[in-house]
Protein backbone atom coordinates (compact mmCIF):
# COMPACT_ATOMS: atom_id res chain seq x y z
CA UNK A 1 0.00 0.00 0.00
CA UNK A 2 1.42 3.32 -1.00
CA UNK A 3 1.03 6.55 0.88
CA UNK A 4 -2.33 7.20 -0.70
CA UNK A 5 -5.55 6.89 1.26
CA UNK A 6 -9.16 6.43 0.41
CA UNK A 7 -11.60 9.26 0.51
CA UNK A 8 -14.75 7.89 2.13
CA UNK A 9 -18.21 9.38 2.18
CA UNK A 10 -21.08 7.80 4.05
CA UNK A 11 -24.28 9.30 2.72
CA UNK A 12 -27.87 8.94 3.93
CA UNK A 13 -30.97 10.17 2.14
CA UNK A 14 -31.14 13.41 4.02
CA UNK A 15 -27.56 14.15 4.99
CA UNK A 16 -23.93 13.22 4.71
CA UNK A 17 -23.22 11.05 7.73
CA UNK A 18 -19.47 10.92 7.63
CA UNK A 19 -16.66 11.93 5.33
CA UNK A 20 -12.95 11.51 5.75
CA UNK A 21 -9.76 9.69 4.86
CA UNK A 22 -9.35 6.00 5.42
CA UNK A 23 -6.72 3.35 4.84
CA UNK A 24 -9.13 0.49 4.39
CA UNK A 25 -12.81 -0.20 4.19
CA UNK A 26 -14.54 -3.52 4.75
CA UNK A 27 -18.10 -4.07 3.65
CA UNK A 28 -20.41 -6.99 3.15
CA UNK A 29 -22.04 -7.15 -0.24
CA UNK A 30 -24.59 -9.69 -1.33
CA UNK A 31 -21.70 -11.78 -2.64
CA UNK A 32 -19.68 -11.78 0.54
CA UNK A 33 -17.29 -9.68 2.54
CA UNK A 34 -15.14 -7.31 0.60
CA UNK A 35 -12.13 -5.25 1.58
CA UNK A 36 -11.18 -2.11 -0.27
CA UNK A 37 -7.70 -0.66 -0.21
CA UNK A 38 -6.43 2.41 -2.03
CA UNK A 39 -6.10 1.75 -5.73
CA UNK A 40 -9.09 -0.55 -5.98
CA UNK A 41 -10.72 -0.89 -9.37
CA UNK A 42 -14.01 0.92 -9.99
CA UNK A 43 -16.78 -1.07 -8.37
CA UNK A 44 -20.48 -0.83 -7.78
CA UNK A 45 -21.75 -3.26 -5.20
CA UNK A 46 -25.02 -3.86 -3.48
CA UNK A 47 -24.66 -4.04 0.29
CA UNK A 48 -26.45 -6.72 2.15
CA UNK A 49 -27.49 -6.02 5.69
CA UNK A 50 -24.60 -5.40 7.98
CA UNK A 51 -21.98 -2.98 8.98
CA UNK A 52 -19.33 -1.20 7.03
CA UNK A 53 -16.00 -1.01 8.81
CA UNK A 54 -13.88 2.00 8.03
CA UNK A 55 -10.25 2.03 9.15
CA UNK A 56 -9.55 5.73 9.27
CA UNK A 57 -6.26 7.34 8.36
CA UNK A 58 -5.58 8.17 12.00
CA UNK A 59 -5.77 4.49 13.00
CA UNK A 60 -9.30 4.54 14.31
CA UNK A 61 -12.12 2.24 13.33
CA UNK A 62 -15.55 3.55 12.50
CA UNK A 63 -18.57 1.34 12.11
CA UNK A 64 -21.38 2.48 9.90
CA UNK A 65 -24.72 0.81 9.44
CA UNK A 66 -25.89 0.93 5.86
CA UNK A 67 -28.73 -1.50 5.44
CA UNK A 68 -29.88 -2.05 1.92
CA UNK A 69 -27.61 0.50 0.42
CA UNK A 70 -24.83 0.34 -2.11
CA UNK A 71 -21.18 1.05 -2.42
CA UNK A 72 -19.29 2.68 -5.23
CA UNK A 73 -15.55 2.88 -5.66
CA UNK A 74 -13.70 5.00 -8.16
CA UNK A 75 -10.43 6.91 -8.16
CA UNK A 76 -9.83 6.16 -4.49
CA UNK A 77 -13.18 7.62 -3.57
CA UNK A 78 -15.63 5.37 -1.83
CA UNK A 79 -19.26 6.28 -1.47
CA UNK A 80 -21.33 4.26 0.96
CA UNK A 81 -24.92 5.16 0.20
CA UNK A 82 -28.01 3.98 2.04
CA UNK A 83 -31.34 5.62 2.61
CA UNK A 84 -30.90 5.28 6.34
CA UNK A 85 -27.19 5.13 6.93
CA UNK A 86 -25.90 5.90 10.39
CA UNK A 87 -22.77 5.54 12.45
CA UNK A 88 -22.60 2.93 15.15
CA UNK A 89 -20.82 4.26 18.19
Amino acid sequence: MSTSTLEVHVVAADREVWAGQATMLVARTTEGELGILPGHEPLLGVLSSGEVRIHTADNGVILAKADGGFLSVEHNTVMVVASQAELVV
Binding site: A13, D14, E16, T30, F70, S83
Partner: protein, 302 residues
Amino acid sequence: MGAQLRIYRQKIKSAQTTKKITRAMELISASRIQKAQTRMNSAAPYTKALTRAVTAVAVGSNVDHPLTTQTETPRRAAVVVFTSDRGLAGAFSSQVLRETGELGEKLKSEGKEVVYYLVGRKAVSYFAFRQRKWERDWIGGTDRPEVETAQEISDAVIEHFLKSYDEGGADEIHLVYNRFVNLVSQVPSALRLLPLEVVEAEADAEIPTGHDVLPLYEFEPHGFEVLDKLLPVFIENRIFAAMLSSAAAEHAARQKAMKSATDNADKLIQNYTRLANNARQSEITQQISEIVGGADALVSAK
Protein backbone atom coordinates in the same frame (compact mmCIF):
# COMPACT_ATOMS: atom_id res chain seq x y z
CA MET B 1 -68.21 58.67 21.66
CA GLY B 2 -70.14 58.74 18.43
CA ALA B 3 -71.44 55.59 16.78
CA GLN B 4 -69.42 56.18 13.63
CA LEU B 5 -66.22 56.62 15.55
CA ARG B 6 -66.84 53.47 17.54
CA ILE B 7 -67.26 51.42 14.40
CA TYR B 8 -64.01 52.71 12.97
CA ARG B 9 -62.17 51.92 16.19
CA GLN B 10 -63.55 48.38 16.07
CA LYS B 11 -62.36 47.93 12.53
CA ILE B 12 -58.89 49.19 13.40
CA LYS B 13 -58.73 46.76 16.32
CA SER B 14 -59.70 43.84 14.15
CA ALA B 15 -57.19 44.75 11.44
CA GLN B 16 -54.51 45.01 14.09
CA THR B 17 -55.31 41.56 15.43
CA THR B 18 -55.21 40.08 11.94
CA LYS B 19 -51.94 41.81 11.30
CA LYS B 20 -50.42 40.28 14.41
CA ILE B 21 -51.37 36.80 13.26
CA THR B 22 -50.22 37.19 9.68
CA ARG B 23 -47.01 38.81 10.82
CA ALA B 24 -46.29 35.88 13.13
CA MET B 25 -47.02 33.40 10.35
CA GLU B 26 -44.75 35.32 8.02
CA LEU B 27 -41.88 35.16 10.49
CA ILE B 28 -42.43 31.46 11.19
CA SER B 29 -42.41 30.65 7.48
CA ALA B 30 -39.32 32.74 6.95
CA SER B 31 -37.44 30.74 9.54
CA ARG B 32 -38.76 27.43 8.17
CA ILE B 33 -37.66 28.20 4.62
CA GLN B 34 -34.11 28.25 5.89
CA LYS B 35 -34.53 24.81 7.40
CA ALA B 36 -36.28 23.42 4.35
CA GLN B 37 -33.56 24.77 2.09
CA THR B 38 -30.87 23.28 4.27
CA ARG B 39 -32.64 19.94 4.06
CA MET B 40 -32.82 20.21 0.30
CA ASN B 41 -29.13 20.96 0.13
CA SER B 42 -28.09 18.22 2.52
CA ALA B 43 -30.01 15.69 0.45
CA ALA B 44 -27.98 16.67 -2.60
CA PRO B 45 -24.96 14.37 -2.01
CA TYR B 46 -27.26 11.35 -1.87
CA THR B 47 -29.07 12.34 -5.04
CA LYS B 48 -25.78 12.96 -6.76
CA ALA B 49 -24.32 9.62 -5.71
CA LEU B 50 -27.47 7.79 -6.77
CA THR B 51 -27.76 9.52 -10.12
CA ARG B 52 -24.16 8.78 -10.83
CA ALA B 53 -24.51 5.14 -9.89
CA VAL B 54 -27.67 4.63 -11.92
CA THR B 55 -26.08 6.31 -14.90
CA ALA B 56 -23.02 4.12 -14.49
CA VAL B 57 -25.05 0.92 -14.48
CA ALA B 58 -27.25 2.05 -17.31
CA VAL B 59 -24.28 2.98 -19.44
CA GLY B 60 -21.87 0.29 -18.30
CA SER B 61 -24.14 -2.69 -18.67
CA ASN B 62 -26.65 -3.33 -21.36
CA VAL B 63 -29.55 -4.46 -19.30
CA ASP B 64 -33.24 -3.98 -19.64
CA HIS B 65 -35.26 -3.53 -16.56
CA PRO B 66 -39.05 -3.53 -16.14
CA LEU B 67 -38.86 -0.05 -14.64
CA THR B 68 -37.15 1.38 -17.71
CA THR B 69 -39.18 -0.45 -20.32
CA GLN B 70 -41.82 1.52 -22.06
CA THR B 71 -45.11 -0.09 -22.97
CA GLU B 72 -45.90 0.33 -26.63
CA THR B 73 -49.34 1.76 -26.10
CA PRO B 74 -49.65 3.18 -22.61
CA ARG B 75 -53.31 2.99 -21.59
CA ARG B 76 -53.29 4.07 -17.98
CA ALA B 77 -51.26 6.75 -16.28
CA ALA B 78 -50.94 7.49 -12.58
CA VAL B 79 -50.34 11.02 -11.39
CA VAL B 80 -48.88 11.79 -7.97
CA VAL B 81 -49.93 15.24 -6.80
CA PHE B 82 -47.98 17.10 -4.12
CA THR B 83 -49.91 19.85 -2.34
CA SER B 84 -49.80 21.22 1.18
CA ASP B 85 -51.75 20.25 4.27
CA ARG B 86 -52.59 23.78 5.26
CA GLY B 87 -53.82 26.74 3.32
CA LEU B 88 -52.90 30.41 3.64
CA ALA B 89 -50.07 29.94 1.20
CA GLY B 90 -51.39 31.94 -1.71
CA ALA B 91 -51.75 29.98 -4.92
CA PHE B 92 -49.46 27.20 -3.74
CA SER B 93 -51.90 24.31 -3.81
CA SER B 94 -54.24 25.65 -6.46
CA GLN B 95 -51.47 26.12 -9.01
CA VAL B 96 -50.40 22.51 -8.57
CA LEU B 97 -53.99 21.35 -8.89
CA ARG B 98 -54.41 23.44 -12.02
CA GLU B 99 -51.25 21.88 -13.46
CA THR B 100 -52.64 18.47 -12.54
CA GLY B 101 -55.86 19.25 -14.36
CA GLU B 102 -53.95 20.25 -17.48
CA LEU B 103 -51.78 17.14 -17.36
CA GLY B 104 -54.87 15.00 -16.82
CA GLU B 105 -56.55 16.53 -19.86
CA LYS B 106 -53.45 15.97 -21.94
CA LEU B 107 -53.15 12.33 -20.89
CA LYS B 108 -56.83 11.74 -21.53
CA SER B 109 -56.55 13.27 -24.99
CA GLU B 110 -53.78 10.74 -25.65
CA GLY B 111 -56.28 8.06 -24.82
CA LYS B 112 -55.05 7.18 -21.37
CA GLU B 113 -57.01 6.52 -18.28
CA VAL B 114 -55.79 8.64 -15.37
CA VAL B 115 -55.58 7.61 -11.72
CA TYR B 116 -54.43 9.88 -8.94
CA TYR B 117 -52.27 9.59 -5.86
CA LEU B 118 -52.66 12.56 -3.54
CA VAL B 119 -50.22 14.02 -1.07
CA GLY B 120 -51.45 16.76 1.25
CA ARG B 121 -54.85 17.58 2.71
CA LYS B 122 -55.57 20.28 0.14
CA ALA B 123 -55.47 17.84 -2.77
CA VAL B 124 -57.71 15.42 -0.93
CA SER B 125 -60.34 18.03 -0.14
CA TYR B 126 -60.19 19.32 -3.72
CA PHE B 127 -60.85 15.84 -5.09
CA ALA B 128 -63.43 14.97 -2.45
CA PHE B 129 -65.38 18.17 -3.11
CA ARG B 130 -65.52 17.40 -6.82
CA GLN B 131 -66.35 13.77 -6.10
CA ARG B 132 -63.43 12.56 -8.13
CA LYS B 133 -61.82 9.27 -7.36
CA TRP B 134 -58.28 8.76 -6.21
CA GLU B 135 -56.21 5.71 -5.52
CA ARG B 136 -54.50 6.56 -2.28
CA ASP B 137 -53.58 9.59 -0.22
CA TRP B 138 -51.00 10.69 2.28
CA ILE B 139 -51.92 13.41 4.72
CA GLY B 140 -49.72 15.17 7.22
CA GLY B 141 -46.15 16.32 7.25
CA THR B 142 -46.04 18.06 3.90
CA ASP B 143 -44.14 20.91 5.47
CA ARG B 144 -41.56 18.54 6.87
CA PRO B 145 -41.32 15.47 4.65
CA GLU B 146 -39.97 12.23 6.05
CA VAL B 147 -37.98 9.63 4.17
CA GLU B 148 -40.46 7.01 5.34
CA THR B 149 -43.34 8.73 3.56
CA ALA B 150 -41.30 8.90 0.37
CA GLN B 151 -40.61 5.20 0.76
CA GLU B 152 -44.32 4.42 1.14
CA ILE B 153 -45.23 6.47 -1.89
CA SER B 154 -42.53 4.95 -4.04
CA ASP B 155 -43.43 1.42 -2.96
CA ALA B 156 -47.05 2.10 -3.83
CA VAL B 157 -46.37 3.57 -7.26
CA ILE B 158 -43.77 0.97 -8.20
CA GLU B 159 -46.18 -1.79 -7.24
CA HIS B 160 -48.86 -0.13 -9.29
CA PHE B 161 -46.50 0.31 -12.22
CA LEU B 162 -45.35 -3.31 -12.23
CA LYS B 163 -48.87 -4.67 -12.39
CA SER B 164 -50.17 -5.37 -15.85
CA TYR B 165 -52.91 -3.24 -17.35
CA ASP B 166 -55.55 -5.92 -16.87
CA GLU B 167 -54.81 -6.11 -13.19
CA GLY B 168 -55.29 -2.38 -12.94
CA GLY B 169 -51.66 -1.44 -13.29
CA ALA B 170 -50.44 1.87 -14.67
CA ASP B 171 -48.14 2.20 -17.65
CA GLU B 172 -46.80 5.59 -16.71
CA ILE B 173 -46.21 7.47 -13.47
CA HIS B 174 -46.14 11.24 -13.38
CA LEU B 175 -45.29 13.66 -10.60
CA VAL B 176 -46.79 17.12 -10.21
CA TYR B 177 -45.23 19.35 -7.59
CA ASN B 178 -44.15 22.89 -6.85
CA ARG B 179 -40.53 23.27 -7.73
CA PHE B 180 -38.65 25.62 -5.43
CA VAL B 181 -36.71 27.96 -7.70
CA ASN B 182 -35.96 30.71 -5.23
CA LEU B 183 -37.68 32.62 -2.47
CA VAL B 184 -40.03 34.46 -4.77
CA SER B 185 -40.63 31.89 -7.43
CA GLN B 186 -42.23 28.46 -7.11
CA VAL B 187 -43.01 26.81 -10.38
CA PRO B 188 -45.59 24.04 -10.61
CA SER B 189 -43.95 21.36 -12.68
CA ALA B 190 -44.91 17.97 -14.01
CA LEU B 191 -42.43 15.26 -14.82
CA ARG B 192 -42.67 11.67 -15.87
CA LEU B 193 -41.14 9.41 -13.25
CA LEU B 194 -41.74 6.02 -14.81
CA PRO B 195 -40.78 4.44 -17.08
CA LEU B 196 -37.37 5.93 -16.47
CA GLU B 197 -35.55 7.22 -19.44
CA VAL B 198 -32.13 5.76 -19.17
CA VAL B 199 -30.63 8.32 -21.46
CA GLU B 200 -29.96 10.63 -18.59
CA ALA B 201 -31.17 13.80 -20.19
CA GLU B 202 -32.77 14.12 -16.80
CA ALA B 203 -35.19 16.86 -15.97
CA ASP B 204 -33.01 18.03 -13.15
CA ALA B 205 -30.97 21.05 -13.86
CA GLU B 206 -30.65 21.30 -10.08
CA ILE B 207 -28.43 18.27 -9.82
CA PRO B 208 -25.24 18.69 -11.71
CA THR B 209 -23.69 15.33 -12.46
CA GLY B 210 -19.94 15.17 -12.70
CA HIS B 211 -18.83 15.91 -16.22
CA ASP B 212 -15.89 13.56 -16.10
CA VAL B 213 -16.15 10.30 -17.93
CA LEU B 214 -17.54 7.45 -15.88
CA PRO B 215 -15.06 4.70 -15.25
CA LEU B 216 -15.80 1.16 -16.25
CA TYR B 217 -17.30 -0.32 -13.15
CA GLU B 218 -17.11 -3.81 -11.90
CA PHE B 219 -20.56 -4.83 -10.73
CA GLU B 220 -21.19 -6.91 -7.74
CA PRO B 221 -23.16 -9.10 -7.85
CA HIS B 222 -24.27 -8.43 -11.40
CA GLY B 223 -25.34 -5.57 -13.65
CA PHE B 224 -29.00 -6.44 -13.62
CA GLU B 225 -29.20 -7.08 -9.91
CA VAL B 226 -27.41 -3.85 -9.11
CA LEU B 227 -29.86 -1.98 -11.32
CA ASP B 228 -32.74 -3.88 -9.80
CA LYS B 229 -31.62 -2.71 -6.39
CA LEU B 230 -30.74 0.83 -7.40
CA LEU B 231 -33.78 1.83 -9.42
CA PRO B 232 -36.37 1.62 -6.63
CA VAL B 233 -34.04 3.60 -4.40
CA PHE B 234 -33.55 6.11 -7.17
CA ILE B 235 -37.29 6.49 -7.63
CA GLU B 236 -37.78 6.88 -3.91
CA ASN B 237 -35.14 9.56 -3.98
CA ARG B 238 -36.86 11.40 -6.82
CA ILE B 239 -40.07 11.39 -4.83
CA PHE B 240 -38.31 12.56 -1.71
CA ALA B 241 -36.61 15.33 -3.67
CA ALA B 242 -40.00 16.41 -5.00
CA MET B 243 -41.37 16.44 -1.46
CA LEU B 244 -38.48 18.49 -0.13
CA SER B 245 -38.76 20.95 -2.97
CA SER B 246 -42.49 21.20 -2.47
CA ALA B 247 -42.02 21.79 1.26
CA ALA B 248 -39.54 24.60 0.69
CA ALA B 249 -41.84 26.09 -1.92
CA GLU B 250 -44.77 25.87 0.49
CA HIS B 251 -42.95 27.89 3.13
CA ALA B 252 -41.82 30.44 0.57
CA ALA B 253 -45.34 30.79 -0.81
CA ARG B 254 -46.79 31.14 2.66
CA GLN B 255 -44.26 33.76 3.61
CA LYS B 256 -45.08 35.75 0.50
CA ALA B 257 -48.83 35.45 1.05
CA MET B 258 -48.54 36.43 4.70
CA LYS B 259 -46.31 39.35 3.85
CA SER B 260 -48.91 40.80 1.51
CA ALA B 261 -51.63 40.12 4.08
CA THR B 262 -49.62 42.05 6.66
CA ASP B 263 -49.08 44.92 4.24
CA ASN B 264 -52.75 44.92 3.44
CA ALA B 265 -53.67 45.05 7.14
CA ASP B 266 -51.32 48.00 7.51
CA LYS B 267 -53.07 49.83 4.73
CA LEU B 268 -56.48 49.11 6.25
CA ILE B 269 -55.36 50.37 9.63
CA GLN B 270 -54.06 53.55 8.06
CA ASN B 271 -57.26 54.19 6.12
CA TYR B 272 -59.50 53.52 9.08
CA THR B 273 -57.36 55.70 11.32
CA ARG B 274 -57.85 58.58 8.88
CA LEU B 275 -61.59 58.00 8.78
CA ALA B 276 -61.74 57.71 12.57
CA ASN B 277 -59.86 61.00 12.96
CA ASN B 278 -62.24 62.59 10.54
CA ALA B 279 -65.25 61.30 12.44
CA ARG B 280 -63.81 62.45 15.76
CA GLN B 281 -63.10 65.90 14.40
CA SER B 282 -66.58 66.34 12.98
CA GLU B 283 -68.01 65.16 16.28
CA ILE B 284 -66.02 67.82 18.12
CA THR B 285 -67.07 70.44 15.61
CA GLN B 286 -70.66 69.48 16.10
CA GLN B 287 -70.37 69.61 19.87
CA ILE B 288 -68.79 73.07 19.75
CA SER B 289 -71.46 74.38 17.46
CA GLU B 290 -74.08 72.91 19.76
CA ILE B 291 -72.51 74.65 22.79
CA VAL B 292 -72.16 77.93 20.95
CA GLY B 293 -75.71 77.66 19.67
CA GLY B 294 -76.95 76.88 23.21
CA ALA B 295 -75.05 79.83 24.68
CA ASP B 296 -76.43 82.12 21.99
CA ALA B 297 -79.93 80.97 22.74
CA LEU B 298 -79.41 81.63 26.47
CA VAL B 299 -78.04 85.13 25.77
CA SER B 300 -80.89 86.07 23.46
CA ALA B 301 -83.46 84.70 25.93
CA LYS B 302 -82.34 87.16 28.62
